[in-house]
């Protein structure tokens, strides 16, 4: 009975949702839906893993298998990561700027659009088996000999909804940084822009070198907000590119559905590939790296209670990272012989190599800041933060290696790309950083609900870490032995690697389940439902006043 009571009411009374502010609620909604989408993504991944070991009837049709592969990154990146990150930043930006969120209503619309869009894209794959994969290489998404145009319409409209929601998030974040709250003295825009872009970091370094007083002793914008500000610029550019490609594909779909099919050779496939990768890469090599660096800095400061080591360098490096992210897309086209060699060399190899520098700086600054506050307590946020750093220390060099003209010839499109690079970066680097942020924000967002089981939290940590690194490693070994990604091997060619990767995948799924179960037992089913009901507190404050809790 005690178990059922805890399940319904939560640990030690669970989450009292009547005491949550609208901003707390909107943050929790986005994060909870994001965690649920992560589970869907993990289940999809395990289905594909199982099919790679021993064919399962559900995925018997190739079109179904590849439609799962198409929606897998959409659900994972947008449905899960975007929602968790956007949810957390929706709370953090006003918190760090010490003022209310610009619009809670817009934040609610944002998460619903992204969640709805992810569901719609998923349905495009599940019902109609639309399967051009997330790379959408032209003219595959408009090849209606292979796909139902209706499926394309549902999928693309879903992605469009996600991007519109993303634009809503961007507007809300920038508006929160720049607006002047009621009763406050008018905030000057110029210092906010200079600080938001990190130019003050450069100026401080320059002034120091020339023997002058610092340009700005107290920057107008705190360092984590600078990272969010910068990353959001890439988020904006990426949304524009994906929307543009979506509109192009929609035009062809509508043409086909209305009986007026259009000539797909009107679009140059290589030019399209450049444009699409330029935008898409702003996620992987832009906003993710910048947001992650900013999150590490914030976590390091919160965990240690100290200022960040080399603050000005960190600010300047974030600006460098933004510029680098605009010029690295050619590493995705090293196998394209029509791509000019100079672009491969400069953008594909050399500028890409700078990601080793910018991410390496973020790692160093975070670790030194932590070290400067020894001895620390090994809390959940610290544990997950260190794992997140480890993930990127493994995945970024893997990416730099594959962004080499010599190695890319034998690594491109193999399991190496998606194993040691993509999955380790996402599952260990990014996701464990996000869990660190979730654990550190947990008391503030839930008004101090106690975590139900530390043992489950530890199982979640080790399962995610070992599962993520293990799966990436076995995929990488298979890739080096010639196993392609996006190709089905049903004759047992790489069976041993796939079985081992499958076991690690199962561990990841179990870790997610442990986390979800722990959260539900902590806040209770009532608390979970209550998060999605309107807030009873009519306030713009981020957290309730003590008497309201």
């Amino acid at each position: 009975m005690g178990f059922i009571r805890t399940l319904i009411n939560g640990n030690e009374g669970g989450l009292k949702t009547d005491g949550l502010t609208p901003t707390q609620k909107v943050t929790l909604r986005a994060v909870i839906v994001g965690v649920l989408y992560y589970g869907l993504c993990a289940i999809e991944g395990m289905l594909m893993r199982a099919h790679a070991v021993s064919p399962i009837p559900l995925l018997e049709e190739n079109s179904h298998y590849f439609s799962v592969m198409t929606v897998h990154p959409i659900v994972g990146i947008f449905g899960s990561t975007y929602l968790i990150v956007f949810g957390a930043f929706t709370f953090l930006v006003p918190h760090l700027m010490n003022k209310p969120l610009y619009s809670v209503k817009l934040a609610n619309v944002t998460w619903m659009l992204i969640a709805g869009g992810a569901l719609m894209s998923w349905l495009g794959g599940f019902i109609f088996h639309y399967a051009p994969l997330y790379t959408l290489y032209w003219p595959l998404p408009v090849d209606f000999k292979q796909y139902d145009a209706i499926g394309g319409l549902v999928f693309i409209l879903g992605v469009a909804l996600i991007m519109v929601g993303t634009l809503g998030f961007i507007y809300n974040i920038f508006a929160t940084v720049f607006y002047t709250e009621e009763g406050h003295e008018k905030r000057a825009i110029k210092p906010l822009i200079i600080s938001g872009l990190g130019i003050d970091g450069f100026l401080n370094i320059w002034y120091k070198m020339t023997g002058r007083e610092p340009y700005s002793k107290e920057p107008a914008v705190s360092l984590p907000v600078v990272a969010i500000f910068r990353g959001t610029i890439d988020t904006f550019l990426d949304a524009l590119v994906i929307l543009t490609c979506g509109i192009l594909i929609l035009i062809y779909i509508i043409g086909d559905l209305s009986g007026l099919p259009m000539d797909y050779t009107a679009v140059n496939a290589l030019l399209y590939k450049n444009f699409f990768w330029w935008g898409l890469d702003l996620i992987a090599d832009g906003l993710v790296l910048i947001y992650v660096a900013g999150t590490w800095y914030l976590l390091a400061m919160l965990i240690t209670g100290k200022k960040l080591y080399m603050q000005n360098i960190a600010r300047a490096a974030l600006l460098l990272e933004l510029i680098v992210s605009w010029a690295v897309w050619s590493h995705h086209l090293l196998g394209d012989q029509g791509q000019p060699n100079m672009m491969k060399l400069i953008s594909g190899e050399m500028v890409t190599a700078f990601e080793l520098v910018t991410q390496g700086i973020a790692v160093f600054i975070t670790l030194v800041t932590l070290w400067s506050a020894r001895p620390l307590k090994m809390t959940m946020p610290l544990k997950f933060l260190l794992a997140g750093i480890l993930g990127f220390m493994l995945a970024v060099p893997a990416g730099i290696l594959q962004a080499d003209m010599g190695l890319n010839r034998v690594l491109h499109n193999t399991q190496w790309i998606v194993g040691p690079h993509v999955h380790v970066a996402i599952l260990v680097g990014l996701t464990m950083t996000l869990y660190s942020a979730i654990y550190i924000l947990w008391p503030t967002l839930t008004n101090d609900v106690k975590i139900w089981s530390n043992k489950l939290a530890n199982f979640h940590f080790w399962g995610q870490l070992i599962g993520g690194i293990g799966m990436g490693a076995f995929m990488g070994m298979a890739g080096m032995d010639g196993m392609l990604r996006r190709t089905l091997y049903l004759n047992g060619e790489y069976e041993t690697y796939m079985m081992l990767a499958g076991l690690c995948g199962a561990l990841l799924l179990a870790a997610w389940f442990a986390f979800l179960f722990n959260v539900i037992m902590s806040i209770g089913v009532r608390g979970l439902i209550g998060v999605f009901l309107p807030s009873k507190l009519k306030t713009r404050d981020l957290v309730p006043k003590p008497q309201e809790v």
Binding site: H129, P132, N268, A353, S372, A373, R374, L488
Partner: protein, 197 residues
């Protein structure tokens, strides 16, 4: 002369050592940062700038090293100025490769140009050994130059496989078994030799 087996073998070794080292480093850090007798310490800026210097050097050095040690990089970079000894014009359409002859026979150390033209979708063009390991690949983009020049130094028989997804029935479905044979070398590619019946 190094081939993809050598290059990938070296990569496997180097990356495994790197991975283990980094995991040990983080484990050491995690232990040290919570050690009860640990004292806060400050890192000098010179250490930081030295570290950044190492990162820049490593980032650039990887590419200089591979340019000099991986033989196909230079050929690829200079292919416009190298006269091909043999050229094979291959077309792809409707998920099918069409070769100029049933089997492409290549003489050892000849500069060979594979010129692949897609008539519809984006495909891949890859050569694989008998043990499924990858020798070379490129993307095959419609209305684009898709030429790759290669020099083989070992005898062997290779499969042609599309290395890019082109719909649910592309990929492994687009395989031409034993379509390429290299002859006349002193050495055999041991993973690319057909089993004797």
């Amino acid at each position: 002369m190094a081939d993809s087996v050598d290059v990938l073998g070296a990569l496997k070794l180097v990356y495994t050592i790197y991975t283990i080292s980094i995991m040990l480093l983080i484990a050491w850090f995690a232990r040290g940062v919570v050690a009860p007798n640990g004292k806060p310490s400050v890192v000098k800026p010179s250490t930081f700038y030295g570290y950044v210097g190492v990162l820049v050097t490593v980032g650039v050095a990887i590419h200089i090293l591979t340019f000099n040690k991986i033989p196909w990089v230079e050929i690829d970079f200079k292919r416009a100025n190298i006269k091909a000894d043999q050229t094979f014009n291959i077309t792809v359409k409707d998920h099918k490769f069409t070769l100029p002859t049933d089997k492409l026979t290549i003489k050892c150390k000849n500069y060979v140009m594979f010129d692949v033209d897609s008539k519809d979708l984006t495909y891949g063009f890859g050569l694989f050994r008998q043990n499924n390991s990858l020798v070379l690949q490129m993307q095959v983009v419609p209305a684009s130059d898709n030429q790759i020049m290669w020099q083989f130094h070992k005898n062997g028989t290779y499969h042609i496989v599309s290395t890019e997804y082109s719909g649910p029935y592309g990929g492994s479905e687009m395989t031409l078994k034993n379509a390429v044979e290299v002859i006349g070398c002193k050495e055999n590619d041991k993973y690319a030799m057909l089993e004797k019946k």
